[in-house]
Each structure stands twice: as structure tokens, then as C-alpha cells.
Amino acid sequence: MDFKFTEEQVQFREEVKEFVTTEKEKGIFPFGNNCWMHLSSMEFSKEVAKNGLIGIAWPKEHGGRGMGYVDRVIMLEEMFRAGAPVAYHFMADRQVAPGIIHFGSDFLKKEFLPKIRNAEVCFCLLFSEPDAGSDLANCRTTAVEEGDYYIVNGQKVWTSNGHIADYGWALVKTNLDPAVSRYNAFSEMVIDMKSPGVTVRPLINSAGAHSFNEVYFDNVKVPKEYLVGTKDNGFRQIMTNLDFERAGIERLMQNSLTLDSLKDYVKTNDKGGKPLSQDPLIRDSIAKLEIEFEVGKLFIYYVASLLDKGKIPSYEAAMGKTFCTLYEAKLADVATTLMGLPGLLMPGSPEAPCNGMACEDYLWSPSYTLQGGVVEVLKNIVAQRGLKLGRKKK
């Protein structure tokens, strides 16, 4: 049992901290909460790329640094702590590239890995549909073979940054035989978002932000080379992706700046001549948040250490995401409660503390426990795969 970071890791953390500080001080990039979902800057991502911080966990032969998942957590911890705008390259780095490395053809590897590595392309994820949220296998978007192409028809929803993306990483139905199980009916493919027939429409979320989109496919021609892995094996391929998607520290730190602004607020605001931070109840509430954050962070590092050992965290990632996203939602709630009415002023309002960060966070917070796997479904996964409950007895 050894919780020590290696010297290389300690140095790497410093390297990332320095990079992020330098970029923040330039004052030209958007830093803030929800940075991996919503703050997109190709210029910033190009700086990230220049500093060798995209693809750090890819094997070296594919342009990566061959570093581990613990290293990736270290890097992202420092980036999210500052609220760095990583959205342009985040999805591609986190799961598209690993998907291409594991399942993609040489063509796909050559075509996309260098571009992702250099922040030259932005990928969005095309999974959810109006009829397929938690029940992803209920997708209806089809991809029918026609000569050298697949013809794609259908619709995707909740597509983060679909309006910015150059390419989409799509789950589409390639087997329409009703006798075939749903789980063997899908393929993964890359879709050029600029193809004729692709229409992107904005979806405004509860926080009033344009982050999500609807994406319509009307006879979109996708070259066959853009199929990822094996036809009809897409669902299983996605399942392996999901553990990576759920395991990250972005599940804990999407709103980490809110905790900083809360601590600041109580230290710099008084009641009855004493700082709010001297109130025992306020101290207890903030300590609770701090503790839950530290407990969640340790768990994320645990899941990363499993990945580094080559283990598949089939239920641990789900457990970690459940715990961490519940904390994120709690943070937003407690922050607005402790800050009182000023905490309900929106960004841009006169008098808003920390430019309305807490209020905005609270409006985003319902999404934390929903996106990428709702907490209740994740608990099902932990129960079935982790605790082996609900299995039929032989």
C-alpha cells in the first residue's frame, strides 16, 4: 500500500500547474466552471497540445506519452482546479482517441490521432437519442450499407458542442434484423459533421446556456472507412469506453471553483462584526464539503490506479461517478444556501458575488447526476456487477 506520488508525478503536476497559470494570466481564455463541457477554445487547446498535454495516456507509438491514468488524473485535477477551457479537445482526448486506438483501423488511426493530438479537430459524442437515454440500446438512428458508404438517418440529442465539432463519434444501428439482439445491432462510426444532410440545432439548458444540441441526419453519406472496429459490435465497444468516461476527475471537479468562491465569500463577508467563516455551523458545512471532496478525489485516484494495473473498473467507475456527482450537486446547493440571497444573483448582475458563479452552478447542477449515466442506473450497475445482486439463481 503506497499512496505516494512518484517524483515524476510530482514534477508533472508542477508542470501542469505552471502551464495553466501562465495561460490564465494571459487573460484571453475563458476560465470557469463546467470547463470541460462548455468552455471551448481551439486556441487554448492548441497551447495544451503544444505543451504535450493531449494524449498523455496514449501509447507512444500512437503519438502519446505512454503515461498512466493516475498521471491523467493529476493533469486534469490541476486543469479543473483552475477552470481551464478544455472542451474543444476533451472528448476526443478522453474517449474518441482511446476508442480509435483500441478498435480503429490503421486508416482511422492515421487520419485522426495526429489531428486530435494537435488540437486540429473537435469531436462530439453522438450517443443519446430522444428514445434512448438510459436505455441506450433503444437508439433508432440507422446506417445502411450502400456501395462504399453507410447512409445514416436519424437524430441524436444532448450533443455537447455539436455546434462546434468537426466530427462526431456515433453509435448507429447497422443491423435491422429483428431476430438479432439489440446489443448486437449497433456500430460505432466517425461522422463528418460538415457532411450534407447533417443539421445541428441548439438546445438551451436549464442554466440558459447553449451547450447541448440536437443533431439530425438526413441521408448522410459516411465513407465505409469511417466504421470503427467491427460492424454490429459497436455496443460492446462503447461499453468499454464508458468505464473510461465515468472514471474521471471531471465527475468531481466540474464546479470546483464554486467551493473556492464559497470559502472566499465567508471569509470576506461579516455578520455582526465577525466574518461568516467564524460561524460554527458555516465552518461545519464547508468542512463537510471539503471532506466529501477529498474522499471523492481519493476514490478517483483509486479507479485510475485500477486502470493503470490493467484492470477493468466495471463497477468501481460507476461507484466513483455516483459518489462524486452527488457531491457536485451538493456543493452547488450548499454554496447558494450559505451565500444567501446574494448567491442567487446571476452572472452579469450588479452586486453578484464572484460574478454569479454559485447561482449559475446551481442551475447546472441537475445535470451532474444525470449526464453520462444517471446515478440510479449506475447504482444498478454496482449492484449487479459489483455486489452480484439480482442475478437469477441457477
Binding site: M1, F3, V295, L298, T322, N380, L389
Partner: protein, 374 residues
């Protein structure tokens, strides 16, 4: 970063597990709750033979200079077995305080005996309200003729009635601080009264001191520094208790999962119900997060790193988690789980006690709040 046991730690964990599987039984645990000694001398002797008491002491005092991580794993096993004993009060609350602060004479006199399991000892430092605060001490040591007379009371002193020695914390009237005196457990003027607590009839004591004599040679370390000496052990105690909680939660999960998998209602095992599954997951999350948090803090202690914050995090987290797990455990095991015949109640009682010992959640969170500069 490696969260797993190494070979040695796995051995300690497995052998502790085996030991308690052999030595503990539901019958014994229930007997001990009624027993006026509150612990089993036979099991105590066997623990001593395994070298558990000597693990944290230096070789020159008869110890094994072992790892705090190993010690933590033993505590986890104790928590899982629910076996009560004067282990913590002897080893940490007396032994380590003496090892870290006592004179050579005191160390040579007591540590070898403690390491061998030949000396049971305990710390008397809480007032009758059980508040962990220097200002609430109810013991006073008056200087008389070159010596001291100690009077007052201390409560919630575990195993004072069977202790060979009582380390007592008294306010010294001549100086600002608190002084620790190593007393004979049966010294004249000491009266121990068994309290009937949630742990049973023979564990917690109220100890009255009436002009108990003490010499300067019985002072541990420097006069007036006693409270600091106790505080210095706080992280170790907090982490040890956290590990006990982890072990306890482990067993409660076993009991609950067994039950929900076996119990048939409406034609299906309870475990087929989604709500039941989610409750089990809630328990598992408490257990797994507690496990890592306790191990991390134990590792830091082992490395000699300052872990005031992490020890407080562990105790607040694990102490409350164990309690919650027992509550979920009761909900899942229904009437059967509520009967005295079922072992769950042993853990429910332990969990409530452990939640409060050496500072409940809010006490620990105050430490964290200080630590983060609020």
C-alpha cells in the same frame, strides 16, 4: 499509487481474520456484554502471544517496531469481530504516550509489560459530560510535601476496573497546564464504578479520585504538558477507530447481503428488488470510501507525515458511515435483524459508540475547518 495490500499486509489481514474467526463467537460477544470484566482474558493472552500489543514499541522496550499500517489492519479485524478489549486504551492511550514522552525509567518499567500483554492500562481524562476539552477536566492534582494529591473524577474510562495502571490527566494547581500521572490501578483513593453503557456492563467506568497520592517520578514527561501529549496521539487514535469502523461495516454488509439474498418475499429474494439493491449499493459506497480514507491516513502515519487533516477526515467520515451502514442494515434485515439473536445489534451499538469516541463528526470537521484556514 497502490491501494492494495502488499504481501506482508495481506498476511497480517488474513491471520487477523483467521484469529477472530476462531476466537469470536456470537455467544462470547453476548456474554462479554453482561460480563463484569468486559473482555476475555483468554483472548487477550492469545492476542499478546501473537505480538499485537508489542507491534508499535521500540525493540529496546520489548516491542517489534512494526508498521502502523499493520496495526491498523489488526484494528480492522477487531472491528469486524466486534471483540471488545482494553487494546487501544493500553497500547495507544497509555503505551505510546509513555514511549513518546516518558522518562527512561518509566519506559523501562511499563513498556515491556505492555508489549507482552502483561499490563492492562487506560487513560482517565474525560469529565462526566464526556466532552473532549481541556477545560472540562474534572481532576485536580495539588502539590503537597514534594508530591501530589489527585482528586476529582474522570468518566468513560474504559476498563479502569480491571486496569493494572491508570494514566490520569489532572489539572495541576501550580501551573497552567495538565499533567499526566501513571498511577497504580488499585491505588488508595481510587474508586471505580462500572457504568452500564451501550457497550455493556463491564467496559466504561466512572473513576473517583480521593486524595490519591502521586510522586514526581510518576509524572509522564513534563508537568503541565499532558494535554499536548494526549493531543499528539489524536491522529493515531482517530485512524485506529476509523479502521475499527471499516471492519465493522464489512461485517454488517456481509450480514445484510446474506439476508437479502436468502430472504424470500413475494416469491423472490429481497435482492431482486431495485430499492433493496440501491440500499446495498449505498452501504457499499460508505464502506469502500471509508476503507480508502482510513488506509490513506494510516499510511500517512506510517510514513511519519503530518496528517492532522486526513486523520480528522477519516474519523468523521468512517464514524458516520458505520452508523449509517448499520441503519441501512436494519432496514434491510427487518424483524429478524432487530432480534437479539441476530448479530447486527452488536455492530449497531459499536457504531454509535465509535461515532462519538475521540470526537464525533462535528468535532473532526472543526479540525478540518481550522486546517483549511477558514
Amino acid at each position: 499509487m497502490d491501494f492494495n495490500f502488499n504481501e506482508e499486509q495481506q498476511m497480517v489481514y488474513d491471520s487477523t481474520k483467521k484469529f477472530f474467526e476462531k476466537e469470536t463467537s456470537g455467544t462470547l460477544l453476548r456474554e462479554l456484554m453482561e460480563d463484569d470484566k468486559g473482555y476475555s482474558p483468554e483472548v487477550w493472552k492469545k492476542m499478546a502471544e501473537l505480538g499485537w500489543m508489542g507491534l508499535l514499541f521500540k525493540e529496546e522496550y520489548g516491542g517489534f517496531e512494526g508498521s502502523f499500517l499493520d496495526f491498523a489492519l489488526i484494528l480492522e479485524g477487531m472491528g469486524k469481530s466486534a471483540m471488545p478489549s482494553p487494546f487501544l486504551s493500553t497500547v495507544i492511550l497509555t503505551g505510546l504516550i509513555i514511549q513518546d514522552n516518558g522518562s527512561e525509567e518509566l519506559k523501562k518499567e511499563y513498556l515491556p509489560k505492555i508489549a507482552e500483554g502483561e499490563c492492562i492500562s487506560t487513560l482517565a481524562f474525560l469529565g462526566r459530560k464526556g466532552l473532549y476539552s481541556k477545560s472540562e477536566l474534572e481532576l485536580e492534582a495539588k502539590q503537597v510535601n514534594g508530591g501530589y494529591r489527585i482528586s476529582g473524577a474522570a468518566s468513560f474510562v474504559p476498563y479502569a476496573h480491571v486496569a493494572d495502571n491508570i494514566l490520569c490527566a489532572a489539572k495541576t494547581t501550580d501551573s497552567e497546564g495538565v499533567t499526566l500521572f501513571m498511577l497504580d490501578g488499585k491505588a488508595a483513593g481510587i474508586e471505580t464504578i462500572n457504568l452500564h453503557s451501550i457497550s455493556g456492563k463491564g467496559v466504561d467506568c466512572l473513576v473517583n479520585f480521593r486524595d490519591v497520592q502521586a510522586t514526581p517520578a510518576q509524572i509522564v514527561g513534563e508537568a503541565g504538558k499532558g494535554w499536548e501529549y494526549i493531543e499528539a496521539q489524536w491522529p493515531k487514535v482517530a485512524v485506529a477507530l476509523s479502521c475499527e469502523c471499516v471492519g465493522g461495516m464489512d461485517r454488517v454488509m456481509e450480514l445484510a447481503l446474506n439476508h437479502v439474498n436468502e430472504r424470500i418475499q413475494f416469491g423472490k429474494p429481497l435482492s431482486a428488488l431495485q430499492v433493496v439493491q440501491h440500499m446495498c449499493v449505498d452501504m457499499a459506497m460508505k464502506l469502500e470510501t471509508s476503507r480508502h480514507t482510513a488506509h490513506y491516513a494510516a499510511w500517512q502515519i506510517n510514513e511519519g507525515l503530518d496528517c492532522t487533516k486526513e486523520a480528522a477526515i477519516a474519523k468523521s467520515w468512517c464514524g458516520e458511515a458505520f452508523k449509517v451502514v448499520t441503519k441501512i442494515g436494519h432496514q434491510l434485515t427487518g424483524g429478524i435483524g432487530f432480534s437479539e439473536e441476530f448479530d447486527l445489534f452488536l455492530y449497531t451499538r459499536n457504531a454509535k459508540k465509535l461515532e462519538l469516541l475521540f470526537g464525533d463528526g462535528s468535532f473532526q470537521r472543526a479540525i478540518v475547518a481550522d486546517n483549511i484556514g477558514l
